[in-house]
């Protein structure tokens, strides 16, 4: 076993994901944390450490927002830290929570992911423009969407993948989200709807992208001895992994996320997983754009390079397929409050492995699940593997 203590998830919670929620980031953090504590059957005083995951300060518009959010995340007079690896934050926060408990230092850890993007007015896209390299990229007028469009186009070109094949991801995830009570953009749409939506930066169109969202999600982690006293159904964190690639776009192979592969290999090795597509029963794969679900499935070795679109077309990744991907509805359907979205994915895997996902529950009796997020300058991968 890696670490001194085996670590369990014993409770999860999340807010609705919406644009323009009235709640402040602190209040959103509180709502998600309280729900996770209630499910775990714990009081705040039982929590021995807190990890807050939240992405660029510029979204909430509060410089040093880790400190700002602390009380809403239950950190009063507690060991507290904020972790931040861009879009990878929401899953990395769970990785960080894992080491708090696995080290033996704390019996419990509350992990919270939060983002209030709609504070950035009129559009949080402005905040994204300042995440890029100030010497080589920003003087060109870089926007988030055209940077992604470059990667999407390269991925399509190398494997000969079509827009139609990629659009199936958006159709699937938005439909899945219809069954999620917190979802922002659940919808029945068609491939044609995606292909007819506004072209933003070719090949990226409006319905290829996740929305602007506010929200929070939280998990309660506990050491094995504490978890077994509180629940008969702990979900174990058996693998964690994280990795970063070069921050220079032009020094990466855009068609393949090597950093996701490295993070996944780290987590799989720890969890003893040798054949990911056979051994993973359900996965929440980071999908801020539809092509990213395919890209990441390949990086996670859930599909061979260039084959994820084929699996999607065959229905393998549907909720009732052999390898359900994003049964929650993902970022495309549930919404994308950056760090909260990654933590939401960990919540979904927890609920799926406990059989508590309601209408979203995947078929069979899933025992092993994976959540993954991706971020920083789009070259960071974070992974968690859980087992019931």
């Amino acid at each position: 076993m890696v670490g001194k203590k085996r670590v369990a998830v014993i409770g999860a919670g999340m807010t609705k994901f919406r644009r323009n929620l009235k709640e402040t980031g602190k209040e959103l953090s509180y709502e998600a944390s309280k729900m996770a504590l209630d499910q775990a059957g714990l009081e705040l005083s039982d929590i021995k450490s807190v990890v807050m995951g939240t992405a660029p300060d510029a979204f909430d518009g509060v410089h040093m927002k880790g400190e700002y959010l602390a009380d809403g995340a239950g950190a009063w007079e507690k060991p507290y830290s904020r972790v931040f690896v861009g879009g990878g934050t929401g899953v990395f926060a769970v990785d960080a929570g894992w080491w708090h408990v696995a080290s033996g230092k704390f019996d419990t850890c509350l992990v919270v992911g939060e983002e209030k993007m709609s504070s950035c007015y009129p559009h949080p896209a402005y905040a994204f423009t300042t995440i890029f390299d100030q010497i080589y990229s920003r003087p060109l007028g870089v926007t988030l969407i055209w940077i992604f469009a470059l990667e999407m186009h390269r991925y399509m070109h190398v494997h000969g993948i079509t827009k139609e094949e990629i659009a199936l991801v958006s159709v699937k995830n938005k439909r899945n989200a219809l069954d999620h009570p917190c979802a922002q953009l659940g919808a029945n749409i068609t491939v044609e709807d995606v292909l007819n939506s506004e072209v933003l930066c070719w090949p990226v169109q409006r319905l290829d992208i996740s929305p602007t969202s506010d929200g929070a999600a939280a998990l309660v982690l506990a050491s094995e001895d504490v978890a077994k006293k509180l629940t008969d159904d702990p979900v174990w964190i058996d693998g964690v992994g994280w990795c970063i690639d070069s921050t220079y776009w032009t020094n990466r192979d855009l068609y393949y996320p090597q950093y996701v592969q490295c993070a996944a290999q780290m987590a799989y090795k720890m969890a003893g997983i040798k054949n990911p597509p056979k051994e993973i029963d359900v996965a929440e794969v980071y999908d801020p754009f539809d092509y990213k679900e395919l890209h990441h499935m390949e990086g996670l070795m859930l599909a061979r390079k260039g084959q994820a679109a084929k699996l999607t077309a065959e229905g393998v990744t549907q909720r009732d397929g052999d390898l359900p991907i994003n049964p929650s509805g993902g970022l495309l359907g549930v919404g994308n409050p950056i760090a909260a979205a990654g933590t939401m994915k960990c919540c979904e895997i927890f609920w799926q492995l406990r059989g508590e996902a309601g209408k979203r529950q995947v078929k069979g009796d899933p025992r092993t699940g994976l959540a993954q997020a991706w971020g920083d300058l789009m070259q960071y991968g974070s992974v968690v593997v859980m087992r019931s």
Partner: protein, 156 residues
Amino acid sequence: MSTEKIKDARRMVHWPGHMETDYIYTLGIAGEKFFTEMKNSGRIFAAKCKRCGFIYLPPRIYCERCFEKLTEWINVGTKGEVFTYTVAYVDVDSSKLKEPTIYAYIKFDGAHGGLIHKLGEVKHEDVQIGMPVEAVFKPLAERKANINDIKYFKPV
């Protein structure tokens, strides 16, 4: 939780804030050399790692792979090929651009990597991945030692 669907954030009871701050970004040791060469002589340089052979474009003063100090600078010419591209129809606020802008990752022969820049003197429907292109520089007097000293890349 709040449940009201609100399209415009200004409809909520709020305080309008502002976080603008200005910055002076130094180009760094590698950046100053790179952009000074570009400005003065229209040459594009990469930096080679003697230990692992990786040739960095944009250039750096250290190898991020083995941490060797980089001292060998290589003139990689002004030509490359389109590795991938996008046609931007909207600006950062989703407003329509007057003219679509083509942005590309231009991969240089003789270097690992390349530069992201605009394409010009070409219609977007004629651009292809793999297409050879070359840098078009601003006139010497207008160059300011930044990435926009290159106006754009055009088909060769």
